[in-house]
């Protein structure tokens, strides 16, 4: 049965439409069950992220249309509205699409690493519910391999591509483990909050918020499970800090070089990482000259992001080459499957001949001891195996469907590969034909 994928993504559909066909909104597992309940396909995986909604399936020729209708009906969106945004991939193109998705090549932020985990999770849901089979299993495991190879062998996923991630990555490079760190947030704006949330997600020990208005600090502290301090206690807070995020709306620097120097003198000798994301800046640039003080402002962080994005785009060619290799490997496997019915029939035919010959010689073999009879059985079996080894490998290696078909016809003719031939049940012989790609 043919393999296909149907879906929409940030490349083909606007965000409002993507929101309306978000399978994860109602639970990807439920959507999967609903799709399977329709009996559309024999193998199905639903992949749903904020940027894409896709169904990978193995089904008959009517499968893509049926899945398209399922998309519309499940989300209660007119098919006509969806049709222009849906894409369909078939055969090897499904593999290329999924491998690119898993490698982060099809992501909004190219190279973002979360997508591989999301693909694994989608496959896990389908696998746990028994909705996967040989083709989907192979497809997704190959996709995991392709994603890992791209990440390992290229720099596509290296470097932070957002200001918050850049700040967190820098903190990791300075301190290593963030679990024992104290973070002080000066100001209570959105940017300060966003960066603080990122650092908090890394498991920092304590988050302290200082704002000119204590109630504002207390509000943010409550939201982030941190601790609020009065503006007058900022100095004490800085003495215990490892990371300081400044994001006030002040028109003059809140932290001067002299002020930071005073703080550094009165604290144990360890690095202080200051992230100044305020415009105009909250921290005097000269403070960054102090030993053990690492000062980064918003322009510095945005510069890092720009460099990383440029570096990632330079890795695209290598990543695409890896995807090509993996698609080629998957495609070869798919083609080798087309020869399977012929190979099974060929092996059955040889085995039946072997069994028949042993049965015919039964009277002559009867006088032999059991060990010798076993030996005869083993020798004949090995002969058959060896005779079939070269044709099996040769047939599996053929990539062209027409050639496989020709070989199957020839083998049918030469070896009379027909089921029921010697069964003696009077059934009409059935010719073996290879599986065809959809």
């Amino acid at each position: 049965m043919p393999l296909f994928a149907i879906g929409l993504s940030h490349r083909t559909a606007p965000v409002d439409l993507r929101e309306r066909v978000d399978f994860s909104r109602l639970g990807a597992g439920d959507a999967l069950d609903a799709a399977v309940a329709r009996g559309i396909a024999t193998e199905t995986v639903v992949l749903s992220t904020c940027n894409r909604a896709e169904i990978y399936a193995v089904a008959g020729p009517e499968g893509p249309d049926a899945v398209g209708r399922f998309f519309a009906e499940y989300h209660d969106v007119p098919l006509a509205e969806l049709a222009d945004h849906l894409y369909v991939r078939r055969g090897a193109e499904v593999a290329r699409h999924l491998f690119r998705v898993a490698a982060g090549l099809d992501s909004l932020v190219v190279g973002e690493p979360q997508i591989l985990g999301q693909v694994k999770a989608a496959y896990g849901v389908a696998s746990d519910r028994g909705h996967t089979g040989a083709i989907i299993n192979r497809l997704f495991h190959s996709a995991f391999g392709a994603g890992k190879r791209v990440r390992r062998e290229t720099g596509l996923s290296e470097g932070a591509v957002s200001v918050s991630y850049a700040a967190t990555a820098l903190a990791r490079k300075i301190f290593g483990d963030l679990a024992e760190l104290n973070v002080v947030v000066v100001g209570a704006g959105d940017m300060a909050k966003l960066t603080a949330v990122h650092l908090q997600a890394q498991g920092v020990r304590q988050l302290t918020i200082a704002s000119r208005t204590l109630t504002t600090a207390q509000r943010l502290a409550a939201e982030l499970s941190g601790r609020a301090v009065a503006w007058t206690e900022l100095g004490d807070g800085l003495r215990g800090a490892d990371i300081v995020i400044t994001a006030t709306g002040a028109s003059t620097p809140v932290l001067t070089r002299a002020g930071v120097q005073d703080v550094m003198r009165t604290r144990p000798p360890r690095p202080l990482f200051i992230i100044d994301i305020a415009v105009p800046r909250d921290v005097e640039a000269a403070a960054g000259d102090l030993e053990q003080v690492f000062l980064y402002n918003i322009d510095d962080l945005q510069g890092i992001v720009r460099d990383n994005l440029a570096r990632r785009s330079g890795e695209l060619e290598r990543a695409e080459a890896i995807v090509d290799e993996e698609v080629d490997r998957f495609d070869r496997w798919m083609h080798s499957r087309e020869a399977i019915p012929t190979l099974i029939a060929l092996r059955d035919r040889f085995e039946r001949i072997r069994q028949a010959e042993i049965a015919r010689l039964e009277s002559k073999l009867a006088g032999l001891p059991p060990e010798a009879r076993d030996r005869v059985d083993e020798i004949t079996r090995l002969m058959v195996e060896k005779l079939l080894l070269a044709p099996t490998e040769g047939l599996k290696a053929v990539r062209d469907a027409n050639t496989i078909g020709t070989y199957a016809e020839v083998l049918n003719e030469l070896f009379r590969l027909e089921t029921g031939e010697s069964s003696g049940e009077g059934t009409r012989p059935r010719r073996i034909t290879p599986l065809r790609r959809g």
């Binding site: 390992r152 490079k173 301190f175 000798p269 690095p271 030993e291």
Partner: protein
């Protein structure tokens, strides 16, 4: 035969550099494998020399350099295999290859004179070599710390930023290996002093030169002083990070000066 380890140490340096520059699991494993082969061939060579001389080849500066290279290679390999961190590989291997040029060009084995047959002498030499190996690692870690520190400070995140562990991790390793090296150095100096007292009066001009004024002993005491200061400064006045890194690099330069030029050309007491 004695050139094989040199070739392999050189190849390991090239492989580690390739891994440092381009990454790749296979290149990393290749580098580790080549270094392993270098150490193995070096071990075989030391074994042959032991068999030839009837004792461990620890007599003379050349033998000591060879043993030092072997010990440092082995220590680094142990660290790499337990941490799976190869970032220090190019630096360590470059040092190994450069130093191994000395024993590679002079493969002769010095026989041990009677005065050196005391177990105290063996303990002294082994302790000093372990100290030097630790200090070499501290120096390499210190240099990489400074390289990374400068990149982060200058906001030009590039080569070292992408490849080295965090500053805190490097500083922690630096502190630990300096402490271990200092303990070995102290042991080596104390045992060496006891041995020198034991053999005083032995009819050998080199024994007569065993005094604090001999350049080898004087510089060894100077390096002990510098490393003692590094340890005290780290704990008492907060000389961690870049200062500690520079100090360990500077102190290792003193150690190397004592090990090679002083050992070959200036000492009158340690030229066995």
């Amino acid at each position: 035969m004695h050139l094989i380890p040199l070739l392999l140490y050189g190849s390991a340096t090239a492989a580690y550099l390739a891994h440092f520059a381009r990454g790749g699991v296979a290149t990393g494993r290749l580098a580790t494998g080549v270094l392993g082969a270098a150490i193995l061939s070096h071990t075989f060579l030391i074994g042959m020399q032991t068999f030839e001389a009837g004792h461990a080849p620890l007599v003379g500066t050349t033998a000591a350099v060879s043993a030092f290279v072997w010990l440092l290679g082995l220590s680094y390999l142990a660290i790499e295999l337990t941490t799976d961190e190869r970032a220090l590989g190019p630096f360590v291997c470059a040092l190994l290859a450069a130093l191994y040029v000395i024993p590679a060009t002079d493969p002769s084995v010095n026989l041990r004179p009677a005065v050196l047959q005391s177990p105290l002498f063996t303990i002294h030499v082994l302790a000093m070599l372990c100290a030097y190996a630790s200090f070499a690692l501290a120096c390499v870690v210190g240099v990489t710390y400074v390289l990374l520190f400068n990149e982060i400070k200058a906001k030009h995140l590039g080569y070292f930023y992408a490849r080295l562990p965090s500053l805190q991790v490097l500083d922690g390793i630096n502190g630990r290996v300096v402490t271990i090296g200092w303990a070995f150095l102290t042991l080596g100096i104390v045992v060496g002093g006891i041995w020198a007292t034991d053999v005083r009066g032995y009819p050998d001009p080199r024994i007569a030169e065993m005094s604090i004024l001999d350049p080898k002993i004087l510089v060894a005491l100077l390096s002990w002083g510098v490393y003692s200061f590094a340890l005290v400064a780290r704990r008492a006045i907060g000389w961690t990070g870049r200062r500690a890194a520079w100090l360990s690099a500077l102190a290792f330069v003193i150690v190397m000066l004592n090990f090679v030029p002083v050992g070959y050309f200036l000492t009158k007491s340690h030229n066995f």
